[in-house]
Assembly symmetry: C3
Homo-oligomer: 161 residues x 3
């Protein structure tokens, strides 16, 4: 192999590792933005047509996502500033300009002296490259032990996609 | 240093980082496979002579590991599909074709509305390179606060190995 | 671009990824050292003038850090060997020989059969390069839901620094 080809191959491998790092940063920012009331920054992590697919139904596009995170009547607002959204066991696959992350979600909420693990879930993020980073196009979240926990979606993890 | 030598050195460093990524993927798949009842896939993460060394004793080889994860009478089956096996604080050292991961284990089980942190543990994974990835040759797990928690095994972490 | 320039650019990118890995190792060792009573090793993770800035006040320099982690009258000693200090959602930025990590802290303490999530916090680590690795120059920790949780420090995360 000539030098150019070897350099290009190394460059591609390093870029892949850098993409892994950037995607982990999206996961971290996702939690911090949600917990600290940075609602606009949280919505900005998504594409304009981003979809948050929850057990109870889906929320699509900036207006619905903004409502979900910032409307006083919604659950999130009631735990803001005393919650921790945490991404665990992240398994990241990158294919060109798209990526899939499968991970566990943990939500810790502090009611008083002791924190409560409020909810565990499986989460699948589908991301697309945007500028120098990555944006969330779809997030599918299914609560641990819920109706779909053992269903098709999760049985196919690490197999499909 | 000539170009060939510099390219080879870079290649080795990138490969090391890629190995770190692959080992993190084993840790993630370990949890997902256990929690979602993918028992065969969980056993496949181990070498054929893999050993799971627990406080209460060791389980060796595919048949015993399969029994541990899939036998109806064993604890695991009672929490399957409502548990999350999580690897935390992973510290990964790679030496050629072997690797050691030291990490914390957290097991979250959902009994009703709230998840319970069922058990914390220190875990040491010893892995070997297998094909394009890594397999678990031995896992040593000691429960937090158990008899061996402060013992030789843990006092030597990050020092031995 | 000539070969030398391309090799140097790749080398710098790989070094940055290696620094990310080394900083994650500091975060892991921080927890293990604290939990396993390796007090000297825990203090060694800091610079000689390291500052641990907590809600209740700051501890500066080796003597004060040693006291915090090892004095029988302090809280830490009462949970040693049955605790897990965990770093979550780490967001790492490196700028030459300094780095900032923002993460969540979780402290799990095992009182009996079930572990308790004792405290959640936001933590900002400021690190400096030391030899082949990194040392903690300052850690700022604010408890989840505490007085400063929604304050300036956290609102500026990912923006300042």
């Amino acid at each position: 192999m000539d030098i150019d080809t070897r350099l290009a191959a190394l460059d591609a491998r390093v870029r892949r590792l850098e993409d892994q790092r950037k995607i982990r940063e999206v996961l971290a920012a996702y939690g911090f933005n949600a917990d600290l009331g940075r609602s606009d920054a949280w919505v900005d992590l998504w594409t304009d047509d981003g979809i948050y697919d929850l057990d109870a139904g889906a929320h699509s596009g900036r207006a619905q996502l903004q409502d979900l995170i910032a409307a006083p009547a919604n659950y999130h607002k009631s735990i803001e500033n005393r919650s921790q959204h945490i991404a665990l066991n992240p398994h990241i696959r990158i294919d060109g300009d798209t990526a899939v992350v499968e991970c566990y979600r943990m939500l810790v909420v502090k009611p008083a002296d002791e924190a409560k693990v409020g909810a565990g879930a499986y989460t699948r993020f589908e991301l697309v490259r945007r500028g120098d980073g990555w944006a969330i196009r779809r997030q599918t979240r299914r609560m641990t032990g819920g109706d779909e926990w053992g269903g098709r979606l999760l049985r196919d993890y690490l197999v499909a996609g």
